[in-house]
């Protein structure tokens, strides 16, 4: 409703201010002067953008560089334009890369020129710089960027304009902006919609993009049954708690902190850091462990990676091999088990094939997992601490041989972020190491026609 009212007001404003429109038209007439630089800059930005299916007439109206001399000139201009905008950000960035400074750059650009000359390049540059300034997930910043577009100019005013691709580069830029929002999972709001309508009109490509986002995003918003919180805890113990609960997925499971991280100074004056050891075990797992045959060993295995948004943590498990078929004991049926009704029927009839849906490809016999833990230091000494802590609540564990099957583990994973193998010594890697993966924002199809 609110949105509709905004739009209504907007239209009335449009009607009441023909002079503004005239001024904008005037600006549009002046456009060819800058158009050239815009296009070329855009082409060499390295962004492989898909174009809309525009009518040839549309392209015809755009100045196309024809002779080499002109092309050369373009390059200079292009460089210039690139430098101008990137430079603006670079200059500011020298002080501090924050939202405030980013906003200031946008303000500076908006105020510098009433015609907003070169705004497409500016927006592209700004979009590229957003992660650097840490504002890539900030809706207000996106709206501010949208606000850079001049209003009313690109709104088609007759059916021919509407039929053909009106101001395709501007529209593409708008779509690109929305696309980046989409990639970061930011849902536009009413303000964005009002801005888009103001800038491109209500049947434009950016508007379509906006509508598609608004169609799909709410549908997918709660699609993940195991959502990861947006803000992950900083404290490694809290993080371990969260991730262990996530793996265990059992509300009865209890997290135990076997050791808090701390630093101590030994007698020789050396600093010794004790890693944190956090484990989880559910009552079912305790029962399984109690039933475990003490002659068969249990294994401590790991580290296994677990990704939480951009953070990768590692966990270790205590498991045993699946029981060989000869050792499996079927629980025999005791007819005197239930006072009230027979627990089994004494019949020689089995389930009919048509109703037998017991086959399950996911039901693989893998052997029981008895407990899981997380630690910042995956060497045997540290993990031993965990095992001895477990022995307090699981007395059987004291009688079972425990084997450590630890792998080098995260090294190859580290390779993604850090060039060169052996970047870290084995066992020294920190479980809560932040591996920031460059989220590759491939320019997926901007608009599906």
């Amino acid at each position: 409703m609110n949105c509709a009212r905004c739009l209504l007001r907007l239209q009335s404003v449009g009607f009441l201010a023909p002079s503004v429109r005239a001024a904008v038209q005037h600006a549009a007439l002046l456009q060819p002067a800058t158009a050239l630089s815009q296009i070329t800059a855009h082409n060499t930005c390295g962004q492989a953008l898909r174009r809309f299916h525009g009518s040839p007439g549309c392209y015809k109206s755009q100045p196309v560089p024809t002779d080499p001399g002109e092309e050369h000139e373009d390059r200079i201009k292009k460089d210039k334009s690139l430098i101008t905008h990137d430079d603006l950000f670079e200059r500011v960035a020298r002080e501090a890369k924050t939202k405030a400074t980013f906003n200031r750059v946008v303000d500076v650009f908006s105020k510098r020129d009433i015609r907003r000359r070169g705004h497409v390049e500016f927006i592209y540059a700004a979009l590229k710089k957003m992660p650097e300034f840490g504002v890539e997930r900030d809706l207000t910043v996106y709206n501010k960027l949208l606000d850079v577009f001049p209003k009313e100019v690109f709104v088609p005013r007759n059916f021919i304009q509407r039929m053909f691709n009106h101001y395709p580069r501007q529209q593409e830029c708008g779509v690109q902006l929305l696309e980046q929002m989409e990639n970061y999972g930011i849902m536009p709001n009413v303000e964005s919609k009002v801005l888009i309508v103001q800038i491109f009109g209500d049947k434009s490509h950016p508007m379509r993009k906006y509508q598609r986002i608004m169609y799909w995003f709410p549908k997918f918003k709660h699609a993940n049954p195991f959502p990861v919180p947006l803000q992950l805890p900083e404290d490694p113990v809290d993080l371990a708690r969260l991730s262990l609960n996530r793996i265990a997925n059992d509300l009865d499971a209890k997290v135990t902190v076997y050791q808090m991280p701390c630093t101590d100074i030994s007698e020789s004056g050396e600093e010794i850091t004790f890693p944190h050891v956090v484990g989880i075990q559910s009552p079912d797992q305790m029962e399984l462990l109690a039933k475990h045959n003490p002659n068969r060993p249990v294994f401590v295995e790991g580290p296994f990676p677990l990704w939480l948004r951009k953070i990768c943590v590692y966990y270790y498990i205590l498991r045993a091999d699946p029981l060989p078929p000869e050792e499996k004991v079927e629980e025999s049926y005791d007819p005197e088990r239930c006072f009230d009704y027979p627990l089994q029927l004494d019949l020689d009839l089995d389930r009919d094939m048509g109703d037998d849906d017991s086959f399950d490809v996911e039901d693989v016999d893998e052997g029981p997992v008895f407990a899981m833990c997380m630690t910042s230091q995956g060497d045997q000494a540290t993990l031993n601490q965990w095992i001895s802590g477990l022995q307090e609540t699981n007395p059987t564990l004291g009688r079972v041989p425990t084997l450590f099957r630890l792998e080098a583990g995260p090294r190859e994973l580290q390779g993604v972020a850090d060039p060169g193998p052996g970047y870290r010594e084995e066992g020294e890697e920190e479980a809560e190491t932040d591996i920031v993966v460059e989220e590759e924002h491939q320019c997926s199809q901007g608009v599906k026609q």
Binding site: D334, E336, R337, C338, F339, D340, Y341, P342, L343, Q344, L345, D346, L347, D348, L349, D350, R351, D352, G354, D355
Partner: protein, 617 residues
């Protein structure tokens, strides 16, 4: 609400409509193979045969009746009990103080109500199941007293009565029957409801092999606070046939005087507050070996028999309560005026009375039919029927109490009227003596087991691809689809039903036949894994309960018409409305019948049907 429930149930019973007649000989073909079974199943009870799609009409028709002398005898018992309950029992006080006053208990003892079923030679009343049910109608007017008495004699001393030795009976029954000693039944433990394997109480034999030492604790023991005698179930070590030592359950008679018994604080309950429920713990309580009920290690059977036999009386208890509610509520509805009209003139209020009358009628019919079956000579196994009576009447009772309360509106919700107490008290009916869920499992699985035993060979043949059997099945299915008439012998030449009710008896037959084929189909599909399909079993149990209720009502009203009981026309209307609700999903509009029932009930301000035990000659 009830109608909804009934309709929901009736949907599950809704079977294909039978349109035309043909293939009479096919029917004969169907019934032929079963004949052999019927011969050696003389004392089989009715419900199990329904699983085979058969009506064992000898069991249910004609409706069981008692002789004139017995009727006089029971009436002579009933009158003073009724007087005592209306004049001397202050239910409100019992509920408020959470205690039955000693003078009331003494009154009950004087009336002999502590030994209703104890044989006369042991000082009891020695009444049959039917007469016990009749007394239950009155005793149920106060929930706390009913539960106290039931804990004492329906389960507490039942063990001695059915499995005890002569010496045990002679030693204990006289004092129990007089009420000098009160009995309790100790089975449930903190970790064990129906699960025998988790019973932790242990009985260890002393070195001189003369006493057992009991250790453990039992919870939710009715009368546990003051019982002098308890039937306790505990694990004992038994050497099996193969020489392996095994823990098995044994039943003991334990006197409080043996020592080592402590009772916990009485539980604060929602309803039946006057009854005493508490924890009982045994600490090295010495029990002489001669106090073992049955054999050592045979406690499981004893427990099962006690539990199974104690349930049937709940039907009459429920109907007694509803009849009382109808009287009280009708008085209010007849006097309260709104918009210049009595409440009793409003259709929606009338419907509530019809619902109550219908439920009371069905419960009564089922209870006395089952009691009558149990009283037959021989040892008929009526546990299935008893469980069905319990499930139906506990749920019906709950709905009726709530409807009665609704008639009074806000007044019913206050403590000025007894409705809220009835509501609280009757909620326990759905829970104790086996929750209704567990009983539904029992009902469905017992029947499935029985039918499965007989049908296994046939189903196996079919699965093997035996053409003959497959064709027979196919033919039957085809016959069903074409609307073959089912004749199970209720009507016609040697029919047992009054011709006036022949129409609906036919419907019942069709439903039974369809139920039989459904069971066969289920066994074909699931075999013994049907145990896992609880939702299917629930529907099977619901259908069976409806069929049994239907039979009971049919049998009773057929008798009433035939012998011309007072108000039998009212019974017939009740019967018709119930049929339509229970049996087939009929598009017929029942409004007129409902109004008629309600009008008669409200005119007389009482439940009008004559008692099923009444006789005309």
């Amino acid at each position: 609400m009830n109608i909804n429930r009934l309709i929901a149930l009736s949907k599950s019973v809704q079977f294909g409509k039978i349109l035309t007649s043909n293939a009479r000989h096919a029917t004969k073909e169907v019934t032929l193979p079963h004949r052999t079974i019927r011969t050696h199943a003389r004392n089989l009870a009715y419900a199990k045969d329904l699983f085979l799609g058969k009506v064992n009409k000898a069991e249910c028709f004609p409706y069981p009746e008692i002789g004139n002398e017995e009727l006089e005898e029971i009436n002579s018992f009933v009158a003073p009990v009724e007087k005592f309950f209306t004049e001397e029992v202050d239910s409100k006080r019992i509920d408020h103080e959470a205690k039955i006053p000693p003078e009331t208990l003494n009154g009950l003892k004087e009336l002999g109500l502590f030994g209703i079923q104890v044989p006369e030679e042991y000082g009891g009343l020695g009444l049959s199941n039917t007469m016990y049910a009749r007394l239950g109608e009155i005793i149920s007017l106060d929930g706390s007293i009913a539960v106290t008495l039931a804990a004492h004699q329906a389960i507490g001393l039942k063990g001695i009565l059915i499995a005890g030795s002569e010496e045990q009976k002679a030693k204990y029954l006289p004092k129990l029957a007089s009420g000098e000693h009160v009995a309790a039944f100790c089975l449930t433990e903190p970790g064990s409801g129906s699960d025998a394997a988790s019973i932790q109480t242990k009985a260890t034999l002393s070195e001189d092999r003369k006493t057992y030492l009991l250790n453990g604790s039992k919870i939710w023991i009715s009368n546990g606070g003051f019982a002098d005698l308890m039937t306790v179930f505990a694990r004992t070590e038994v050497v099996g046939e193969d020489g392996v030592k095994k823990d098995k359950i044994t039943a003991f008679i334990v006197e409080r005087a043996f020592g080592g018994i402590t009772s916990g604080k009485p539980e604060d309950k929602l309803g039946i507050r006057g009854s005493n429920t508490c924890e009982v713990s045994f600490d090295n309580c010495p029990v002489p070996v001669e106090n073992v009920i049955g054999e050592v290690g045979g406690g499981f059977k004893v427990a099962m028999n006690i539990l199974n036999s104690g349930r049937f009386s709940m039907g009459s208890a429920g109907s007694g309560m509803i009849k009382k509610l109808i009287e009280m509520t009708a008085e209010y509805a007849g006097s309260r005026k709104q918009f210049g009209k009595n409440l009793s003139e409003f259709g929606m209020i009338q419907e509530k009375f019809a619902v109550m009358a219908q439920n009371a009628f069905v419960m009564e019919s089922m209870a006395y039919l089952t009691a009558g079956m149990m009283d037959r000579p021989g040892v008929p196994d009526c546990s299935l029927e008893a469980a069905m009576v319990k499930v139906f009447s506990s749920e019906g009772g709950w709905i009726c109490v709530s409807e009665a309360l609704q008639v009074l509106g806000g007044l019913g919700y206050t403590k000025n009227y007894p409705y809220e107490r009835y509501l609280r008290d009757c909620r326990i009916l759905l829970i104790f003596e086996g929750t209704n869920e567990i009983l539904r499992m029992y009902i469905a699985l017992t029947g499935m087991q029985y039918a499965g035993k007989i049908l296994t060979g046939k189903i196996k043949e079919m699965k093997k691809g035996n053409v003959g059997v497959a064709f027979e099945m196919l033919g039957r299915k085809l016959g069903d689809a074409l609307g073959r008439k089912v004749d199970l012998g209720l009507t016609g030449m040697d029919g047992v039903v009054h011709p006036g009710l022949a129409d609906s008896a036919k419907k019942l037959e069709q439903n039974v036949a369809h139920f039989g084929s459904t069971v066969e189909n289920l066994l074909y599909r699931y075999g013994k894994t049907i145990v896992e399909e609880q939702l299917i079993l629930k529907r099977v149990a619901d259908v069976l309960i409806n069929l049994y209720a239907m039979t009971a009502v049919l049998s009773r009203s057929s008798r009433s018409i035939s012998i011309g009981l007072r108000n039998h026309d009212h019974e017939v209307i009740l019967y018709y409305t119930i049929t339509i609700l229970l049996i087939y999903n009929s598009p017929e509009n029942q409004d007129e019948n409902i109004k008629k029932i309600a009008r008669e009930v409200l005119e007389k301000r009482t439940y009008v049907c004559s008692h099923p035990l009444d006789r005309t000659f």
